[in-house]
């Protein structure tokens, strides 16, 4: 979707303020939100891409101004309400007005160390040969669909060169809506001068991971 989350190349934000504070969490609530995210039992139909899409749907002014982990709290809140697990009133008070659903117990502290070493597999066996090979010149489609996509606006309709083909991965655009469809994933390199001609940035390049459906 053409949302404010698609920030690459947007102008007007001013300088980056490098923060010398290297603490992983600047406030207790940030750490709690991170821990909730890692420890929460999933709800059927949730995926990392649904999470990203629900975050993208936060009202633009909130998306641009609210602290990062606060947006996560709002995203989880919206996902939980959408799935019928909690109500808005329960979220506002923190008090459960209905009995918990019968389900398995949540992740226990004793399981955290092992969980921290586990990885989620997003790759799948390819059912067709990739259409493009490293070195091929490709053009990105001019997509502006309303759903979720991982093709940033700033590369739309641009020419690039395939840097690498990684085999088939679950397509984020589908996974966001509960569908498991895999397609070849590529890293495509774009000359900075093809993306931002006015910068005259000589040989600089931007590399973006793109699924096959984004390319032609």
């Amino acid at each position: 979707m053409d949302g404010v989350h698609d920030l690459g190349g947007i102008q007007g934000f001013g300088p980056v303020n490098p923060d010398k504070d290297e603490r992983p969490f600047k406030a207790t609530w940030e750490g709690r939100m991170w821990g909730i995210n890692k420890g929460i039992s999933g709800v059927p139909g949730w995926s990392i891409d649904w999470f990203r899409h629900v975050r993208e749907l936060i009202e633009p002014v909130d998306y641009l101004t609210r602290p990062y982990f606060d947006q996560w709290a709002q995203t989880y809140g919206a996902m939980l309400v959408d799935s019928g697990v909690v109500t808005i009133e329960e979220l506002a008070t923190g008090i459960s007005a209905r009995p918990a659903l019968e389900r398995r117990p949540p992740m226990q502290a004793s399981a955290v160390a092992a969980a921290a070493r586990s990885i989620k597999d997003f790759s799948r066996a390819a059912n067709a040969a990739p259409r493009f090979l490293a070195g091929d010149i490709v053009t990105t489609r001019s997509m502006g669909a309303a759903g979720h996509t991982r093709m940033p606006r700033y590369v739309r309709g641009r020419r690039g060169r395939v840097h690498a083909c990684h085999g088939a991965f679950l397509v984020a655009d589908e996974s966001a809506f509960g569908r498991e469809i895999a397609e070849p994933l590529y890293t495509v390199g774009f000359l900075a001068t093809d993306l931002w001609p006015e910068t005259g940035a000589r040989n600089d390049r931007v590399f973006v991971d793109l699924w096959e459906r984004y390319l032609e």
């Binding site: 979707m1 698609d6 920030l7 690459g8 190349g9 947007i10 001013g14 980056v16 303020n17 490098p18 609530w29 750490g31 709690r32 821990g35 909730i36 420890g39 039992s41 059927p44 139909g45 990203r52 629900v54 749907l57 936060i58 009202e59 909130d62 641009l64 602290p67 990062y68 709290a73 709002q74 989880y76 809140g77 309400v81 959408d82 019928g84 808005i88 979220l91 008090i95 459960s96 918990a100 659903l101 949540p106 921290a116 070493r117 586990s118 990885i119 989620k120 997003f122 759903g147 940033p152 984020a172 809506f177 994933l185 993306l195 940035a201 040989n203 600089d204 390049r205 973006v208 991971d209």
Partner: protein, 210 residues
Amino acid sequence: MTSYDRDKVSDIHRHLHSELPSEPALRVKALESLLVAKGLVDSQAVDKWVEMFSDEIGPKRGASIVARAWVDNSFRARLLEDGTTAIADFGYVGHATGYLTVVENTPAIHNLVVCTLCSCYPLALLGMAPSWYKQNAYRARAVRDPRGVLSEFGVKLAEDVEVRVWDSTSERRYMVMPQRPRGAEHMAEADLAKLVTRDSMIGTAICRLP
């Protein structure tokens, strides 16, 4: 059931905006209490996750990988070939490091990592992302004006150095292998690791001797 209905979710967001407490700390406290009551979260597990990412998992992991690559050419080659397999020997595979690509800075090439669409970051290798990495200004500008962003971090590159920006748009993650500083040729691996800063592995800093 999950609806996948964007209009419904947008409507929920508007309600949450107006009906939840204004303080993030209060919103998160209410969320945790509610999830514990619903049997979806165990607070001691939350404690443990905070502890893991405060003490055990952080940029010192990435620094040890870089230092090893600086002193061991065969490891360096394996790391650049397949980051995930190489860091598995250290036990660093985990959240967001399942598909790791390590890109090497050289006198001719400087790499910079960003996630313009959200905040993707190799968490199990570098720990929590710095605040600036998640801010609008960095996400917007790293792809368009990387040299300007780098100068704000105090990194001035020669005109003829090629800047490569890596936008983390899939589940693949990127880490920069910074250049070993001049004068560090004879330092031991453990001392070298102390020269490797978090920012140098994102590409916004150069490793220097103390």
